[in-house]
Symmetry: C2
Subunit: 630 residues, 2 copies
């Protein structure tokens, strides 16, 4: 391990560009809007603990976590810019938590108000998941505001959990059915310095897979929540993708904290399995709606891709932990792939509505295919919603957006690592300062100014997708050698100015031969951004289009996405009649199958938009993977 430490949220500000605009929208629109939807649906009322049978809005088992992720989102906003009104909203909730937490430390709305006799009896019921998100929120709020009331409550809850799970084991199960508390306890240890919390995290992780008797849902087996094997023996990403990612994130945390090589090795095997076998080109993971789960190596159907927004976030969190243990661009590449595609696709461009799942193909009319049945089997969502009955994704997206600037840089004693390129300013140790100016990923050029870092090293990630790049200083090209995908330079000047260029030609990507769903198709990618076609731009039946991959393509500004459209030459197969006997030619008749030689096609200009911008102009067909022209 060659660990490096993150430059944390309070030390980095985005200054403009793609992500700064999204952070601004997040602050102005998304976080308040999620608050409103949660308020309307009774999620905050529930903290009054006065729901009674027969009343509307019965608290749900994961409502605590919805509110917690909203508090965490608000905390990251507050950390960058104080806002008394927003703070008051959080404080009101904290007061309610204080008022209703049990003296022993237990806190859960549903299992106090609805089923008090079922506490910690059923591992699928999300109590520890709720606890984990409340702990994350409490830490974030303390960091942001210095107010530690919420944190104190959650320390008491964590103490209680330690007692009933680990010290005296009085609960009906050992490991939570939905992982989350493991990574939260590491955050609690980081903030409080109280090592018991780290030990408790380790205990939960180590117990996993050692209790084959532990039950999961009736329809699932032990793979579903990753308790099929002790974690060090797990080699493939299995089961519910979000649960898996939260577990692996904690495993990576613990590998670092304990310098535990065998745990790191397990993480690396799992990371490779995901990114080399089980990940969509968008960074989406979890290809099956049933179980919201990983399936098999190379099984990546596009139309029925589940690819939950929270799972893409989970991949970002896991990659980020690994990146801190070892600066290797594979981890930052995965982070960037998810961030620009399967993560940000989860929120509408107006900031109000969210996708739970992020399919790679949409054919709206296929929803009608079970025309003779009362209920159709769902394929995938085609439009975003402001609220879901299980509304985990919206506040997960807002919390990541609000804290995104904390995922850009790490530093070790002698090296500053730049993992992601965003226009930003960062305070480093001992007064050193980094300023990045760029309109990446729209532009290819990144200006870097590093002050007070002389005698130390700067490591610039050259993304895995980038084949042509150069780094110049004062107009002179620097010779570059990559270390694990990072161009490393020794900084000599006190005020060092560098210019990095990452060429981003429009590139046609193919999938490995083993991927059935993408065989014979290409995805159009520019830099880190995956593109897609929508019928609103290109007409229906997108599968009837073919791209001329040898012709020139060009870029067109796209007000919708804030990036560019890609315009390509292509063709459209025409519906048509077969050549044949004249007396059988019927103008109305189109044979369903006809000799390939009878096919007609007409030239068509094809316009692609960034994948993340799909489904922002009404319901329309969409496809990422398109056919190259023969």
């Amino acid at each position: 391990m060659q660990p490096s430490q993150p430059i944390t949220l309070e030390h980095v500000q985005l200054t403009n560009g793609f992500w700064q605009q999204r952070q601004d929208l997040n602050r102005r629109v998304s976080v308040p809007n999620v608050y409103q939807r949660f308020a309307e649906s009774g999620r905050f009322e529930a903290f009054r603990f006065d729901w009674k049978p027969g009343m509307p809005n019965q608290p749900h088992i994961f409502w605590d976590s919805d509110a917690a992720k909203w508090i965490e989102s608000a905390s990251y906003l507050l950390q960058q810019q104080r806002d008394p009104a927003l703070e008051a909203q959080v404080d009101e909730l904290v007061d309610l938590i204080a008022a209703h937490q049990e003296p022993g430390g237990y806190f859960n709305i549903y299992f106090t108000v609805c089923q008090p006799d079922q506490r910690f009896q059923n591992r699928t019921e999300h109590e520890l998941y709720d606890a984990g998100h409340l702990i994350e929120a409490a830490v974030a709020y303390a960091r942001a505001t210095g107010k530690e009331k919420f944190l104190g409550l959650m320390c008491r809850y964590a103490d209680y959990i330690e007692e009933v799970f680990k010290t005296h084991h009085q609960t009906a199960f050992y490991t939570p059915g939905h992982e989350e508390i493991e990574l939260a306890l590491v955050k609690l240890w980081h903030y409080t310095g109280e090592r018991r919390y780290l030990e408790l995290s380790k205990w939960f992780v180590e117990e996993r897979g050692r209790h084959p008797e532990e039950k999961t849902y009736d329809y699932a087996n032990a793979r579903y929540d990753q308790h099929h094997l002790p974690v060090r023996e797990q080699t493939t990403a299995e089961g519910h993708a979000v649960r898996a990612m939260y577990l692996y994130t904690a495993m990576a945390d613990l590998a670092g904290e304990y310098q535990d090589q065998s745990l790191l090795d397990a993480c690396l095997r799992l990371f490779d399995n995901i990114t080399q076998r089980r990940m969509y080109i968008t960074g989406g993971i979890g290809s099956a709606r049933q179980g919201e789960a990983f399936t098999l190596d190379y099984d990546l159907p596009n139309l029925t891709a589940y690819t939950e927004s929270c799972a893409a976030i989970g991949l970002m969190l896991f990659s980020w932990r690994l990146l801190q243990l070892k600066p290797d661009r594979r981890f930052a590449d995965a982070f960037e792939r998810a961030m620009y595609n399967g993560f940000i696709s989860g929120i509408s461009l107006d900031g109000k509505a969210f996708f739970y799942e992020n399919p790679l193909e949409i054919v709206p009319e296929l929803r009608q295919r079970d025309a003779s049945l009362k209920e159709s089997r769902p394929l995938a969502a085609t439009q975003r919603s402001e609220l879901f009955s299980c509304s985990c994704c919206p506040p997960n997206i807002t919390r990541i957006l609000a804290s995104l600037s904390s995922y850009l840089y790490t530093q070790s004693q002698d090296t500053l690592y730049i993992h992601q390129y965003m226009a930003s300013q960062a305070q480093l140790t001992a007064g050193a300062r980094l300023t990045v100016e760029t309109d990446y990923p729209r532009g290819e050029s990144i200006s870097l100014r590093l002050q007070g870092w002389s005698g130390r090293r700067l490591a610039l990630r050259i993304p895995g997708w980038c084949r042509h790049y150069e780094l110049t200083q004062d107009g002179h090209k620097l010779p570059l050698q990559l270390e694990n995908g990072y161009a490393v330079v020794l900084v000599e000047a006190e005020d060092c100015q560098l210019q990095l260029t990452l060429a981003q030609p429009v590139t046609f990507y193919a999938a490995q031969a083993a991927v059935r769903a993408d065989a014979g198709k290409v995805a159009v990618v520019r830099g880190p951004v995956v593109y897609c076609a929508e019928a609103i731009d290109n007409g229906p039946d997108l599968w009837a289009l073919t791209l001329d991959t040898t012709a020139a393509s060009w870029l067109e500004p796209d007000a919708l996405s804030g990036l560019d459209r890609i315009v390509l030459s292509g063709y459209r197969q025409q519906q048509g009649a077969a050549a044949g006997e004249e007396d059988l030619r019927d103008k109305q008749s189109e044979p369903l199958y006809l000799p390939q030689s009878d096919l007609n096609e007409t030239p068509q200009t094809i316009r692609l938009i960034p994948y993340f911008a799909f489904a922002n102009r009404g319901e329309t067909e969409m496809a990422v993977w398109l056919r190259p022209h023969l």
Copy 2:
């Protein structure tokens, strides 16, 4: 309408070739084997009406129909070749039917033995479907043997049905949830000349769609069993495909019997909708497992194709009825397409095992995709079985095979129509005689000898797939004009000998632009036979293969199918590493996505077998639609 009359089973014998071999196997192996499986599973014991709760093998609601279709199969065998042992098996069942039929005429095992209080109370419970198959069997057995005992019993049952459904309407519903009795009653009218049976058939068909209150299964709506609209208003094939086909077949029967143009028009619209929008290239129909149903125009997924064997048979029956009303090759083309592909694929090459569904793609390992769930969602069967719990397909296939020679020829007063080409001898009216010698569809040449037909016309179907053909007499090419796809010649000689050649080049077919599942793919077809690739011949991941559609192909004898294999040049995409920075090259690492320009492929010879022969060498990947090389 230009009706022509079938040359019926007793007048046509297959003499050799593809279908004669299958008929022989059917007589030797399949019919006895189905009998054994039915006997072992209690289907014949059930006719003793002595099942009691707690005993094994509780009779099922459609067991009557399973036995009936076996009797019908046996009858067609007996019609062509008497067999006392086989006849004794049938007679034993007929005696049991006679012993247990109620004095009033009612006969149904389940609703006598298991639920006698539920007779004709629930339209989904298959009583009239059972009755229809028993009637078909009784007519077939009477025709074959002259014994009319069974027929008499079934006339009494039909009389009872007329009384309780139509005359006094004492039943809980008007129309059966599974059509079948409608077409059976037409057969009963043909044999008995008793017009009431035709009128009853018409009554059932006319009532359909006029009782919106009639219920179907809880999961289905009125489209499921085609009672969503009066039959003349139906324009798209909807719902359960077998039910739909049996209804449409009866509609075509009635259109002819009543010279009912509006009913015929409805049939033609439905036929066009099926064959131009909703039929697989194999003649399989019904693309959804859920509901065993038609879905939407052009929605023809291959991996999850349901395409029940009985539905392909239904398409043959429907097409055959239309062909009798109007000699138009569209109908004979559809019949032939289903017969050589989606029908005969339903039985194994050893004659013992059957497919209920006939998918166009098999990927065995995808059965494991729900690895984290207790139960996987089924995709499609990958291997044939000798018996199913709902075992409608096996005896349906055996009855069609045993009677196949009755679907070749029709004649009107002045014209003999040859619809299908099989080596055969046929007795025509007034001592005229037809002899066909050919090894079609392996060979392209068909010798025809027509004796005693001078002064009348001969109409030879030129299949829609055939672009080059010629007809010669004494080595001289005859000038041909097609009438609705039939080459018509005036026969002058008393002993007329003709030679027809139908060129059958290997042809790459494409689907219309609207068919999403087949976009960018081709199916290899020779004459009427659709081909497929199996992994056992070509290695796994068939989607990684591409065909060189411009290179020569050749034929290789195939002992397995009795036809030829097609051998093609092609390529296989190699799994491989992306070109990139040397320091990042890891021999174990295969990036999941890589620039299209990095793809490697190696030449590979590709061997295809007839589609109907798939899954006869163990479980292996299969695909009909393959990718052409770029």
